[in-house]
Symmetry: C2
Subunit: 450 residues, 2 copies
């Protein structure tokens, strides 16, 4: 049997992040203000440090990873690339299946890849505190970890209902020294307004973002950090794809198709952007973001200018969107419940470089259980989306006899999601779908530009 | 900075397990029946396959690891050895600290190192089903994983109170396809007897063992599997120490002292036994099992023949024991709540090869939080015991200026133990201690031999 885990030495951690802007067919559409004019980086300097804003706007192909960031990456990177021998055998497919496992980070997902550099750049710019929001706690954990690595205070506004119902990720953030508050709080105007109207408000990601941004904007020692969507976030995640390319080279292979789960786009950017240049150069490779049918942004959304958050605080971004007030159902892949998508991922979909796919919830858990029985690792619900698409592709290969090379991102483990598996195993999970009219109606809610 | 993660290629997974019996100062004391006569292996053949019973009694120094077992080990082994640069810096110690991280297994601890070969040997002996018991679920998960790898049915008797209060490890076992029952059940005589007296009995590890053993003894297609204490279990775990020796060789280092958490002894045997021969050959190395002060088997127990289980089903083993009916308090390091200890570990302690240490619960969580802030990984409560001892030793080195090389086993992650961290962080945890009279009283409960 050929190798199972393709490892790299820590000296092989990439030295530079890859900026896909340099290889896109067209330059990215600018962020706009409500007046229709491009938003300059300085307009966001109250909440982000300049090095991150420069990365946000950069078109340089390679951006150096600071040594201090690579030092912390060494705690878990390079992450392993697995050849899924046992899954292939279980499926009886002639296809080769590889998965890149990001669950080896201390926080259990790919999110620390950007939390660490974000904390670092804030630190060197003299910032003492970071504020952020979290739903179930995946991103909050990653930023708490990053804060502990660079000696920054971290305050996390955690959606109150998750704070109460999912205490374990809260405990993990606190273990790393972060302060975790149940949002809405009475510490911000945004929170106080909500509580005045409804003292028992269970919170939402939109409210928590408003609180975290308000705090960052109003305190000189404090900045805000975001875990997906923005260009600099996707840039930091490209260590995933860059390592994967090296690992596949070691075994003399190259993917015919890549799947990654897609919510805000940081998994997709992280794994797929380093392959975009190859595709532009003529490589025959399919790059497939996988989203839930219950939140079908790329597959059924509109390509239009919209807000990145649900309350309209951010600049307008040209992206696929279901409308910034779209409220997806409470599926267990919480990281994929986002009304919009990264502007870069959206534009590459629009231009046909990426081709999105939507899969229903129950099928993703079926795939997750199959994967766990074959390969051992219990995947996060988000990761189950990519596993599901990869398994379907492998079964198509079985039908056609093709021995394609399939690659997917196993973005995290499911250790904090066993309640979701429980519901799947006891037959309580359901799928959601939307009538076309509901999708079309979202058009009425898109903001007017200019 | 020198290397952080010392990795081995999967071709460097050990080819043989190491049997410490070959290098012990004296041969191990035999297992005895209540009549005082040695128990022959065949007496246990109703519940264990012969290859495991042969290993249990073997004095061969090296025992070949089957290729089929090494194939499955490749899913996560060799596990990484970390140099704890960040922890050293945080402590300001001149000592070098290394930790071997076993939490990378799909089940999250070192337990699959033995679950996998146990499932394999049962499979090749024609067994179709395995039964076992589990408390919080760590061992049950490992055997469920092993069953899924070799196509064996697994039934886990899970202590009812844990089944109800800690559902997530139950879900994990079910995800891997195991059947999980809340013990006591009405499927066994043992369970029925308990339920007849007390229908609301919350269960105990002793009852669950009785149920699992009864099932295995009464069905020809079913065997029993145990996760610690026995010689063959410790044998399988020696992959930990064997890999660690190779990893330290790569960086030209050798430990002055090794710490491992000690409950039934499988961590201690796994890491330390491969160093026992070096010590016998004159190497100056301290080998220190670390147990909780609330269950001070090695540090305050009696060295005597006692039962391995709480109800008296097993042969009598010469070991340190607090008496087989000793009920330790409900500390969070559930894996260390065992009244006795491996006979091999006990004998090596008695002979001065190992020197045991006990640490109190609150100090272990303090060490766990410090470790998480420095190194990222949140340790299991059991692992916190070894981390605590290693940190104390490093601080002693700081006081004396010695640059010792300290090694410890980080046997698992704490992802399913965040409730315990929560209690620590909110100041609710407490320590337990025993008056000498209570320890002496246990003598009255030791079984009469012969």
């Amino acid at each position: 049997m050929s190798v199972t885990k393709i490892l790299l030495d820590e000296s092989e951690i990439p030295t530079h992040w890859y900026n896909v802007v340099a290889d896109m067919p067209n330059p990215p559409a600018p962020y706009l203000g409500p007046d229709g004019k491009p938003v300059p980086p300085e307009a966001m300097a109250a909440i982000f440090p300049m090095p991150l804003l420069e990365q946000e706007m950069s078109s340089e192909r390679w951006i150096k990873i600071p040594d201090e960031v690579r030092e912390v990456y060494r705690l878990w990177r390079p992450s392993p690339l697995f050849r899924a021998h046992r899954l292939e055998a279980m499926l009886g497919t002639p296809a080769k299946i590889y998965y890149k496992y990001e669950g080896v980070s201390p926080a259990g997902s790919h999110k620390p890849n950007t939390a660490i550099p974000q904390a670092y750049y804030n630190k060197i710019c003299g910032i003492k505190r970071l504020s952020t929001e979290t739903g179930a706690g995946q991103w909050g954990c990653s930023l708490a970890l990053a804060g502990s690595m660079f000696g920054l205070e971290v305050r996390v506004y955690m959606v109150k209902i998750s704070y109460q119902q999912k205490p374990y990720r809260r405990s993990m953030m606190q273990t790393w020294g972060a302060e975790v508050l149940a949002s809405p709080t009475n510490l911000t105007n945004a929170g106080r307004q909500i509580l005045a109207q409804d003292p028992d408000n269970p919170g939402s990601l939109g409210i928590a973002i408003s609180e975290a941004v308000e705090e960052a904007a109003s305190r000189a020692d404090t900045n805000y950090a975001l875990g997906s969507v923005l260009n600099h976030v996707l840039l930091h995640q490209t260590v995933i794809g860059l390592e994967t390319k090296k690992q596949l080279e070691k075994v003399g292979d190259y993917p015919d198709v890549i799947f990654a789960p897609c919510g805000g786009g940081s998994n997709v950017g992280g794994m797929m952007f380093p392959f975009v240049a190859d595709k532009a150069a003529g490589k025959n490779i399919r790059l497939v973001p996988v989203e839930p049918t219950s939140c079908p942004t790329l597959t059924r959304g509109h390509y239009a200018y919209d807000y990145g958050d649900s309350v309209g605080l951010t600049p307008l971004m040209l992206m696929y969107t279901l409308g910034h007030d779209f409220m997806p159902p409470g599926i267990h892949a919480g990281g994929l419940r986002y009304h919009g998508d990264s502007a870069l991922v959206s534009q590459l979909c629009k231009e046909g470089v990426l081709e999105a796919l939507a899969v229903p919830q129950v099928a993703t858990f079926k795939a997750g259980v199959l994967f766990a029985k074959a390969e051992g690792i219990v995947p996060a619900p988000e990761s189950c989306h990519a596993a599901c698409a990869a398994i379907d592709e492998a079964l198509r290969c079985k039908a056609t006899g093709e021995s394609k090379t399939i690659l997917f991102t196993l973005s995290g483990h499911g250790h904090f999601d066993m309640g979701a598996y429980d519901r799947y195993l006891s037959g309580e999970l359901e799928d959601y779908d939307y009538p076309d009219e509901a999708i079309r109606a979202a058009l009425d809610h898109l903001p007017k530009v200019g």
